[in-house]
């Protein structure tokens, strides 16, 4: 298998584009073609990523300019994907640049028919209060057989394989710290 680094890949693409221009138009457009090809990501900050969908873990590169995501593409240096992406992976730019993304905390009161925007502080306070109430009301120190179990029976959690490992670790720590045993996620379904 031919090994091609990302830099060489870009160079190779540039040569191909220049060749096309030359043969079709009869004069050399290569400096203009190359400039056009590079302009979009020129000077942009690069970071490497792994796709969030299936478990193949295709490599990706983000280009950021002035704090804005301007390009998201396959990483040719990644040994598994070698720059390739499927339809989902190739659409990931729209996961960030998307008018439908939730941008505010929303709250739905009991029996209400609509969402209300609220602050993080208000929501976290109220959730914490709910957790304490549910936990204190359902906490079981000893089970029916008199054995110590020290668990919270009244709260359950599902999620998530969409979290990073470090988040999964502290999420389970948080839940088990609260005494939860009803902890499940995508791996069960």
């Amino acid at each position: 298998m031919v090994k091609i680094s990302r830099r060489n890949f870009i160079k190779a693409s540039g040569v191909a584009a220049a060749g096309l221009g030359l043969s079709q138009l009869g004069f050399d457009l290569s400096p203009i073609e190359s400039y056009a090809a590079e302009l979009k990501i020129k000077g942009a900050k690069e970071t490497t990523h792994i796709c969030c969908y299936c478990s193949v873990s295709c490599g990706q590169i983000a280009h950021v300019s002035n704090g804005k995501l301007i390009n998201f593409e396959g990483d040719p240096d990644h040994p598994i994907s070698e720059g390739a992406l499927c339809a989902k992976g190739a659409s990931l730019y729209q996961l960030h640049d998307n008018q439908h993304r939730l941008k505010k905390v929303r709250y739905r009161a009991p029996y209400s028919a609509k969402w209300k925007e609220v602050s993080w502080e208000w929501a976290l306070e109220k959730i914490a209060r709910n957790i304490k109430k549910s936990r204190d009301a359902s906490f079981m120190e000893k089970n029916a057989e008199g054995k110590v179990v020290n668990r919270t029976n009244g709260i359950a959690s599902v999620g998530s394989a969409a979290l990073d490992n470090e988040e999964c670790y502290i999420y389970q720590q948080f839940l088990r710290g609260l005494g939860l045993v009803w902890i499940e996620h995508q791996a069960r379904i």
């Binding site: 040994p79 996961l95 029996y111 110590v148 490992n165 499940e184």
Partner: protein, 806 residues
């Protein structure tokens, strides 16, 4: 996965059964193609002809839910024709073990069955031991009570005729697959199997995979480059989230969750740490106490001391034998047993089997916290179809979280590669990284308990949650805690071999120990060198355990430490290495002990198994030590052609008003299965909102054969309704040659299929011009007898036309 994605290229035969690799893991096909280019044979066994089938050298159909019959027939073929890799089977598996006299099998039931409890007493399946407690063996494999002979007897019934009648697969197709795959029993030929939810989402899911594992062991394909059993997992980090124990039955890297009977840490360790009398077994789980104490030190920090049993009492415990898995959780929710619920990065209103029951369950909560990037059918359940907000009490908090490119951290792919990704941009609007939400929420709860007290506040107040830097979640700090520290020096431990059970080390997850040590963040490595030449890329990122890229790799060599196949050596014993003492070269071996010929110092290769060898006979599973064919809970046949047991005798059946099942019922005559398309993912919550993807796949469809279309008067593009005993959905009909009716014991059986990516919330669903609802409104809430994964791949349905294509 035992192996990894690039390793597909090393196989001689690739069997894709139980998944649709080209459509659901598209980029990985390049490594199958690389194998095909080398002359490898690619086989796809699936109820439906897909784009994977189109790329395969052989496509072979089978009816959903009959994989054990299909593979049981392969076991019979391999044994009848003596295609096994004998040296491997005798030395590295339990084929030679003598099974005790209480074991028996008759008419679909193993010995020890209690029909009232629908449970087995597994002591009936124990091995016979000598006066020293060592298992009796017959390396000649002749003893009629040895595993090999019992295996032969068990599968003698799976002949081509009966298998073909059950599966609907023509006999010549069965024979073709058996011949091709059976050829990999030669030491220099290797076969691999790729599966996914097509195998797990059945009442016999675990045993589907076990059947293939038995085949791989008989043929000597485990531990080999181009071999193994490879689960193509469906989520980018479902491997990591499982390792991190976001499941009820395990804590930190596959230690069992403490139960009431484990009254203290010593009892927990005593009852859970496997013991063996086998002299050559490494029995790696004997280290469990070290991992447990180090985990508790990570959970509770300095507050965990020897005097307080390292905080063991603070850790929640299950009742003995309590099952809190998904289906039970939503059954309990439906019974109103929870007041609070987190759906964090999940959309159970669409992903849960029998989704109507899930959605109704949500109405019985006091509060729901839903964390996601987009609005979804779970957070918005209260205004979904059939819901009246005025009657629903549930308080809902919808918290906006960051997308992956808006934060930093690691994730683990199916091949156990743990890779680091960086932050590119800030989250949108007020969205926050999940890690920050967790830390802030914990802090809010902690403050309440610190100020007001409450029930048993110790575990909350003592939780070691010091993972912020400048007030923000710091993934590096967590990754280091997950790796573990030597608490006497404050330095990161090199790996899990340094962990201790005396409280002088901490480690959040022993399997990840070595991922972020004093040499740095190993997960962030980007070195493309591949000195073995077999595509291990050992310096690209990091892989658990200990950066071992192919697990069970000491089974890839013979007793002298020479590779079974020198062209694709994973490891090799080099007598000259280590200043003449000898040493392994290649991948990180499963332990550094010398080869098997050195009986004094060696250890058997399957180090996680108490007896050191792989299990052809598996006495730990709930429905028996050998896989047996049972029909799905809902099936098109009145009886199981192999025995009087129609369904898995150990599967748990729920019996509430929402738990409806109908089998062999004329109202639901067609087998139905669920699947995915390339353009969407899971419930669609991270794909339906992306305009490019929605344009490519805008709405729910149901696929059926041309024969069924004719029978039901349905044409391509018609609007139809698909219905089961539990629910119905509208879908556009795709009438296609990709489905063919099955001949099941002389009867024509039709099967239909439906993707599960859609939901009522988005796209807008007026008059079904776009969108549709979840296919899980149709699926049954019965689970596998071991894992409780729902049987979403085989159930009974009807389909009827609503409107011709307009």
């Amino acid at each position: 996965m035992t192996n990894h994605y690039i390793d597909f290229r090393n196989a001689d035969v690739i069997l894709n059964m139980g998944s649709n690799v080209c459509e659901n893991h598209p980029v990985s096909y390049k490594w199958i193609k690389a194998a095909q280019d080398r002359g490898a044979v690619f086989i796809h066994v699936d109820p439906r002809f897909t784009r994977t089938s189109a790329k395969a050298d052989h496509y072979v159909p089978l009816r959903s839910g009959t994989d054990i019959a299909f593979l049981g027939g392969m076991i019979k073929y391999i044994l009848d024709n003596d295609l096994i890799q004998r040296e491997y089977v005798v030395n590295y598996t339990n084929a030679s073990f003598i099974v005790g006299s209480k074991y028996d099998f008759m008419d679909g039931l193993f010995s020890g069955y209690d029909p009232v409890k629908r449970k087995y007493d597994k002591s009936h399946w124990a091995f016979e031991t000598d006066e020293n407690g060592i298992i009796k063996k017959d390396p000649t494999l002749q003893n009629p009570r040895c595993v090999y002979q019992l295996l032969k007897k068990h599968y003698a019934r799976y002949d081509l005729d009966v298998v073909s009648q059950i599966t609907g697969t023509p006999k010549e197709n069965l024979l073709k697959v058996y011949q091709i795959y059976g050829s990999t029993g030669k030491p220099d030929r290797v076969g691999t199997e790729l599966y996914a939810m097509g195998w797990t989402q059945h009442t016999v899911g675990t045993q589907n995979i076990r059947t293939m594992a038995i085949i791989q062991l008989l043929l000597g394909n485990m531990g080999m480059a181009g071999g193994g059993i490879n689960a193509l997992r469906g989520e980018s980090n479902v491997q990591g989230s499982t390792d991190m124990a976001l499941l009820f039955h395990i804590i930190s890297a596959y230690n069992p969750t403490p139960q009431a009977k484990h009254k203290d840490l010593a009892t927990y360790n005593g009852m859970n740490t496997p013991k063996t009398k086998e002299p050559m077994s490494a029995n790696w789980w004997q280290n469990r106490p070290k991992y447990m104490v180090s985990y508790l030190k990570s959970m509770y920090g300095k507050a965990a001391t020897k005097e307080n049993d390292f905080g063991y009492d603070w850790h929640p415990k299950l009742d003995d034998g309590q099952n809190c898995s998904w289906l039970t959780l939503f059954d309990d929710m439906h019974k109103g047993r929870f007041t609070g619920f987190f759906a964090w990065g999940m959309n159970p209103a669409c992903s849960g089997a029998n989704a109507n029951k899930v959605r109704e369950g949500l109405t019985k909560l006091d509060w729901l916290v839903n964390v996601n990037l987009f609005e979804n059918e779970t957070g918005s359940f209260w205004y979904g179809p059939g819901m009246n907000p005025k009657k629903i009490k549930t308080e809902v908090f919808q918290l906006p979280c960051a997308a992956f490119m808006e934060k930093e951290g690691s994730l683990s792919n199916s091949g156990r590669w743990v890779q680091w990704r960086y932050k590119a941009v800030d989250p949108l609007g007020e969205a926050k990284p999940d890690g920050d939400i967790m830390l802030e929420l914990y802090e809010s709860v902690r403050k309440l308990y610190a100020k007001e007290g409450g029930k048993f506040p110790e575990p909350i107040l003592n939780l070691k949650m010091d993972y912020a830097t400048n007030g923000k979640f710091d993934a590096h700090k967590v990754a280091k805690e997950v790796n573990g520290y030597d608490l006497t020096t404050g330095k990161l431990v090199a790996n899990f071999t340094k962990l201790k059970d005396d409280g002088t080390t901490s480690c959040g997850n022993w399997l990840y120990s070595g991922s972020y040590n004093e040499d740095g963040n190993m997960m962030a490595r980007r070195d493309r060198s591949d000195p073995t030449g077999i595509g291990l890329y050992s310096k690209w990122a990091w892989c658990w355990p200990l950066n071992r890229r192919i697990i069970y790799n000491r089974a890839s060599v013979d007793l002298n430490g020479n590779p079974w196949d020198s062209k694709r050596a994973v490891i090799r014993w080099d007598p000259a290495a280590g200043d003449g003492k000898g040493g392994w070269v290649g991948d990180v071996p499963d332990g550094g002990w010398p080869p098997m010929v050195n009986k004094e110092k060696t250890k058997l290769p399957f180090i996680m198994k108490p007896h050191g060898v792989a299990s052809i006979f598996g006495p730990g599973l709930n429905e028996g030590p050998f896989p047996e064919h049972y029909e799905p809970l809902e099936c098109p046949v009145e009886r199981n052609l192999l025995s009087s047991q129609r369904i898995n005798p150990a599967a748990k059946v729920f019996a509430g008003t929402m738990d409806q099942y109908l089998t062999c019922d004329p109202r639901y005559p067609f087998v139905c299965t669920t699947y995915r398309v390339t353009e969407h993912w899971q419930t669609g919550v991270l794909t339906r909102w992306l305009p490019w993807l929605l344009e490519a796949q805008p709405q729910l469809f149901v696929e059926m054969s041309k024969e069924l279309g004719e029978l039901k008067g349905i044409k391509n593009g018609d609007l139809v309704e698909v219905e089961t005993a539990r629910g119905k959905v509208k879908a556009v009909a795709i009438v296609t040659a990709r489905w063919k009716p099955f001949n099941i014991a002389g009867q024509t059986v039709h099967q239909i299929g439906i993707p599960w990516h859609f939901g009522w919330r988005w796209p807008e669903n007026k008059k079904f011009s776009r969108g549709g609802d979840s296919a899980n409104l149709l699926t049954p809430n019965i689970g596998d007898a071991n894992t409780m994964i729902p049987e979403s791949k085989a159930f009974m349905a009807n389909v009827r036309k609503i409107k011709s294509k307009g």
